[in-house]
């Protein structure tokens, strides 16, 4: 730090930063991306291990043998459901009571801000049926949850059957039973199963806003996968067998990217996602029935679940020992927060370096030419008398924030007006308004100029870019801390455009680059990447349709679950990006 307090050395350092700025930026950006891709390779990934003592060493024995019972429950459930055309609440209540549970129902309804495209309805309503298995001599203080989502699109009959059979099994036991509900929920498992036999179990961890359950819960699942010899997948990808050659890590990179995209979307990857919001550790297990030779019946799945619940029952405290922030290249390996953060750090360093360069240029210009004698030729000598007007900073900031606010508010508010005047449905109206406001924002620089006094244009754009850079860096840093994947992906796309923007040089080229690195383009790119990694690449037209659907879903998820991606993009990153757009079209 003595380096910085000595003015002579400080000047030297500043000169170094200015001279080496471009190579440093490129190096830092490349390092960031490379670091991220390297996360799938062994020195950076570690094998997962169980941290929680209560679940690690204790042995449990699974005795579940109710496969036949589960299948008959599933058949009955499916038949009753077909007959009534809806959830057979009465049948569920009767069955749960007959296996000795306390049964309750809860009806819910939720008004949507606009009808979603698939169902065309404003009101979503239904009934939750839940049974409570009371643990003997326990006073309803804690509970574990096994939940089966029964939406109109997911039949899940087998999951219901297995759940009921498991409940009956747990009820009939005398030792180590489950704790009932109606207390603080310690952990939850959501089950999705639609066939009598499965070839593999897929586990989903990503919850709302990219929240993840404690890694120990996943470790627990993996333990029972290994114990029962079940085939378990993550993001639909099998575990690579050979980790020493390049194939394993390369597959790990794919899985890692899939997880990052899924986490960044902030959309829950299963019914467990909403539990995480209330600090209940949860994950979703999905039965997959593919064309593989070897199949497992419901007993194997039931045993894995039973074992998990027995071990969860041993918990003496909330799950907190293991990691809450991690990335998974495979099911058995993880990257901890300390190892993946540098990737984002390198990307954000680019913004910092650019900001430093601008600051030094502004500062030296302010001090006067004789002080800044050693300024390298890359930065043009600026007249000393220029002062940056506050208005030239505040006006673009306010205007772009106002556009962001419009982007956030107008689509839902104006859907009826739009639907009246144009031949579109409400859901389409929302998406189209969204795009319209977004595009209208691009016309902004031409309209902001009449607000501004045009003295000292050079210093003004530099000051504005400096503010925008710091604003972007702060936002991305905050996002990265809570949802690494989102922060990293946004940084990876937005940083180059932001760093290269200036109102000189080949403007159309720079404009094209900036548009390509805008938040919406990042979203579109993410969609294509996702489809490609899922091995279901889409054409451009399909991708565009998908993009529109995703936009509507994003807005809807914000209004129903409180997903934060939409407000984050609309109120935070889009206005920030508009500032760069302003800089690009600065009138000189």
């Amino acid at each position: 730090m003595g380096l910085l307090s000595d003015p002579v050395r400080r000047r030297a350092l500043a000169r170094l930063v200015l001279r080496l700025n471009a190579p440093l930026c490129v190096l830092s950006y490349v390092a960031g991306i490379a670091w991220f891709l390297a996360l799938a390779f062994p020195p950076l990934t570690q094998r997962t291990y169980m941290s929680e003592n209560a679940m690690g060493s204790t042995m449990v024995e699974e005795q579940f043998a109710g496969g036949e019972r589960a299948r008959s429950f599933a058949r009955d459930f499916a038949a009753h459901r077909r007959k009534s055309g809806a959830l057979p609440v009465a049948w569920l209540e009767r069955t749960m009571r007959s296996v000795g549970l306390e049964v309750y129902t809860q009806s819910f309804s939720r008004k949507l801000p606009f009808p979603d495209e698939t169902h065309e309805r404003y009101m979503v309503s239904g009934i939750n049926v839940y049974g409570i298995l009371r643990a003997p001599r326990a006073a309803s203080t804690e509970s574990l949850v096994l939940t089966v989502p029964c939406g109109p699109e997911s039949p899940n009959s087998q999951a219901v059957g297995l759940m009921l059979a498991l409940a009956a099994h747990f009820r009939g036991m005398q030792s180590s039973p489950l704790q009932g509900r109606a207390g603080a929920i310690q952990a939850a498992v959501a089950l999705e199963l639609s066939s009598d036999v499965v070839t593999s179990l897929d586990v989903a961890v990503e919850g709302l806003n990219g929240q993840l359950p404690n890694l120990d819960l996943l470790n627990l699942f993996q333990t029972f996968c290994q114990k029962g010899g079940l085939l378990c997948t993550l993001q639909g990808k099998l575990q690579p067998q050979d980790w020493t050659s390049a194939d394993g890590p390369l597959q790990g990179v794919q899985t890692l990217l899939l997880m990052a995209l899924q986490q960044a979307s902030g959309h829950p990857h299963g019914a467990h996602g909403l539990f995480l919001r209330y600090r209940v550790e949860a994950l979703t297990l999905r039965g997959v029935n593919s064309f593989r030779q070897y199949k497992y019946d419901l007993v194997a799945v039931g045993k894995a679940l039973e074992g998990m619940f027995r071990k969860l029952n041993h918990l003496l405290e909330r799950l907190h020992q293991s990691f809450f922030f991690y990335l998974l290249p495979t099911l058995s390996r993880f990257v901890s927060i300390g190892l993946y953060m540098p990737a984002a750090g390198f990307l954000l360093l680019v913004l910092g370096l650019k900001a430093l360069e601008l600051w030094v240029q502004l500062h030296e210009a302010g001090v006067g030419p004789e002080e800044a004698g050693g300024t390298p030729g890359s930065s043009p000598p600026l007249p000393a008398t220029q002062r940056v007007g506050l208005a030239s900073l505040v006006a673009p900031l306010l205007i772009s924030q106002a556009v962001g606010l419009a982007l956030y508010v107008l689509p839902v508010l104006g859907q009826h007006v739009a639907a009246q005047h144009f031949p579109v449905a409400e859901a389409e109206a929302v998406v189209l308004t969204l795009l319209a406001v977004y595009a209208a924002g691009l016309a902004l620089p031409h309209s902001t100029h009449w607000v501004l006094s045009t003295q000292a244009p050079d210093r003004s754009w530099m000051a504005l870019k400096l503010v925008a850079l710091i604003y972007l860096a702060l936002q991305l840093a905050c996002i990265t801390l809570t949802n690494f994947s989102l922060g990293f992906l946004l940084a990876a796309t937005m940083v180059p455009g932001a760093a290269l923007t200036k109102p000189s040089g080949p403007r159309p080229l720079r404009a094209a680059l900036l548009v390509l690195t805008s938040p919406a383009a990042a979203l579109l790119g993410g969609l294509f990447l996702w489809q490609r990694l899922q091995e279901a690449p889409v054409s451009l037209a399909e991708g565009w349709r998908l993009f529109l659907a995703v936009l509507a879903q994003g807005v809807l998820a914000h209004h129903t679950y409180g997903a934060l991606l939409f407000p984050l993009l609309a109120l935070g990153l889009f206005p920030c990006w508009l500032l760069f757009w302003n800089v690009l079209f600065w009138k000189r």
């Binding site: 003015p7 006073a139 309803s140 009939g172 207390g183």
Partner: protein, 563 residues
């Protein structure tokens, strides 16, 4: 056996086993007496509850103990006790499913005592009393201190004879975290005159009693009238033990039941062949007892074990109970009053305590005294206290609130709330979690911090008018609470204890954190602070010392440029 009532209410049948030297009906009670009783009740949910009661009466005399346990007798004199009530409970009585209990106890340990008005320092006596009881019952009652002791102003009245009720002589504490097991059962059994060698207490086998859904053992000491004229008092020790057997687990889903199944006494006897009642009991009882208990008329089959006719031909008795209709899978009937309590909210900052009070009586409203004891580390926001019934605000007619003091005393909130007919009343209050000192966390892995249950004391309207009972002659289970009037009966209910997690630091981390923080602060903070607050200027070299000035004078004189 007389049918209990219409088929719709077949559950009001109880089996009563009586045993004891002080046989009821005797006009002049002996100086000390013991009576034992076991009530077996099929619960509405299909489970079976067994309630043991042992009553020892003692005419207090100096150091003369026949039946009364000496340990407790000495307590009474040493601490000038007027009443003592201690219960140790594992599990929770689910009133909604099991119906109204004879005597409910909160999960964990509960202790309340009235002291004589001659006691000068009640708190000191209370502290010593809890420590002594802790030793006697092998329970952690020594954890009772000022942070969990309260003096309720209205909820707890003396159950025995009392002249005045100055509440400053009452102390009440609950330890919801207490775990009850065989180590507590053994000292409890030893208080009986014959321990577990004779009488009904031979049935008290720990391996069976702790394989139940609910286990509660209690000791109640109170002064009662010695005879009908009530000229003098004698001390009554009641030891009660209630267990609920899970019929689903023990009976493979059937609700039929026999004493043998619960605990093997002897070989089973054949079942009774006639099939025209909903319910039958075998062997047929010699006497029955009919009374209004907890507001409904019930019939009890009575087996007096001292009566030789009961066990004349075989030396064993196996009670059996059989349902004629298979149990339906519909929800069981609901009692008039039950309650539910939960903590809502998530995160570690704020939360809300909510208590739901259900009055299912179709047309009668009745008042309920609600007592809440909340530990100091949940800081209640009293202005957020809301009581709503049927969507309208319900103003309590009596409120006693004693705020908590950190590490000194808990919150005490007592309210008299009128519950409208067929309504749900919600009492909610918000709280903030306090940060504890690091030594105040429990050393072991823990689920969280327990909040003791709310206590509901209510006069619930009866379905049928009760006749005044003869205190001496009626069975024990009916005579613990003094009857108030014929149209209502007294009932005390407890809600679930709550589990609240407080912000807990990761205790393995502090060392790392301290090291890291110190380094970061030392290296970065100071330098950055300097950089940000100081302005740096290039300082001209000073004029120099005296020698230099002199030299410069000489140089100036010579016309040479100065140094």
């Amino acid at each position: 056996l007389a049918g209990a009532g219409p088929l719709g209410a077949p559950l009001s049948l109880l089996v009563l086993l009586l045993l004891g030297p002080g046989v009821w009906g005797q006009t002049e009670p002996p100086r000390d007496s013991l009576r034992e009783e076991l009530v077996i009740t099929p619960l509405p949910s299909g489970d079976v509850a067994a309630t043991f009661q042992f009553r020892t009466r003692w005419i207090r005399s100096l150091s003369h103990y026949r039946l009364f346990p000496k340990a407790l007798g000495q307590l009474i004199s040493k601490y000038s006790l007027r009443e003592l009530h201690l219960s140790l409970t594992q599990g929770f009585w689910r009133t909604r499913y099991w119906g109204t209990p004879f005597l409910q106890a909160p999960s964990g340990a509960e202790l309340w005592a009235w002291f004589q008005d001659t006691v000068t320092d009640v708190d000191k006596s209370w502290k010593e009393l809890s420590n002594v009881l802790s030793g006697i019952f092998c329970a952690s009652l020594n954890f009772i201190d000022s942070t969990n002791t309260v003096t309720p102003s209205a909820s707890f009245k003396p159950l025995g004879l009392a002249n005045g009720t100055d509440h400053s002589f009452l102390r009440y504490a609950v330890l919801p975290r207490e775990v009850v097991c065989t180590e507590n059962l053994t000292p409890w059994k030893k208080l009986l005159p014959c321990s577990s060698k004779a009488g009904l207490s031979v049935l008290l086998k720990a391996d069976r009693l702790f394989h139940t859904s609910y286990h509660s053992q209690a000791v109640h000491i109170r002064p009662v009238c010695r005879d009908a004229r009530c000229a003098s008092i004698s001390w009554e020790l009641r030891q009660t033990l209630s267990v609920v057997f899970d019929a689903f687990v023990t009976g493979q889903g059937k609700q039929d039941w026999s004493l043998f199944r619960i605990r093997s006494l002897c070989g089973p006897l054949p079942l009774c062949p006639q099939d025209n009642e909903t319910l039958e009991v075998y062997p047929p009882p010699l006497t029955t007892y009919q009374d209004v208990v907890l507001g409904t008329r019930k019939t009890y089959a009575v087996y007096d074990l001292l009566d030789t006719a009961v066990i004349n031909n075989s030396r064993s008795l196996n009670l059996q109970l059989k349902w004629k209709r298979p149990p339906g899978n519909e929800a069981p009937p609901t009692p008039f009053l039950y309650a539910q309590r939960y903590v809502s909210g998530y995160g570690l900052h704020n939360g809300e305590l909510s208590t739901l009070l259900y009055n299912t009586h179709p047309y009668r409203a009745f008042p309920v005294l609600l007592l809440d004891t909340v530990p100091w580390y949940l800081r209640l926001y009293v202005h957020t206290l809301t009581i709503t019934s049927k969507g309208k605000e319900n103003k309590p007619s009596y409120i006693h609130y004693q705020p908590a003091q950190d590490r000194m005393q808990p919150h005490l909130l007592e309210m008299l709330i009128q519950l409208p007919a067929s309504s749900v009343t919600k009492v909610s209050i918000q709280f903030e979690r306090a940060l504890l000192k690091w030594t105040e966390y429990t050393p072991d892995p823990n689920h969280g911090f327990y909040v003791s249950p709310s206590v509901l004391s209510a006069l619930v309207p009866s379905e049928v008018t009760a006749q005044p009972v003869d205190w001496e002659e009626s069975p024990l289970f009916n005579t613990l609470f003094p009857a108030s009037d014929s149209s209502s009966y007294f009932m005390r209910l407890y809600t679930e204890p709550l589990l609240v997690s407080l912000p807990t630091p990761d205790f393995s981390m502090p060392y790392n954190v301290i090291c890291l923080t110190c380094t970061v602060v030392a290296v970065c903070y100071g330098s950055f602070y300097n950089l940000l607050t100081r302005t740096f200027q290039i300082e001209e070299p000073s004029k120099g010392g005296l020698a230099r000035r002199l030299a410069n004078l000489i140089r100036r004189a010579r016309g040479v440029p100065p140094l």
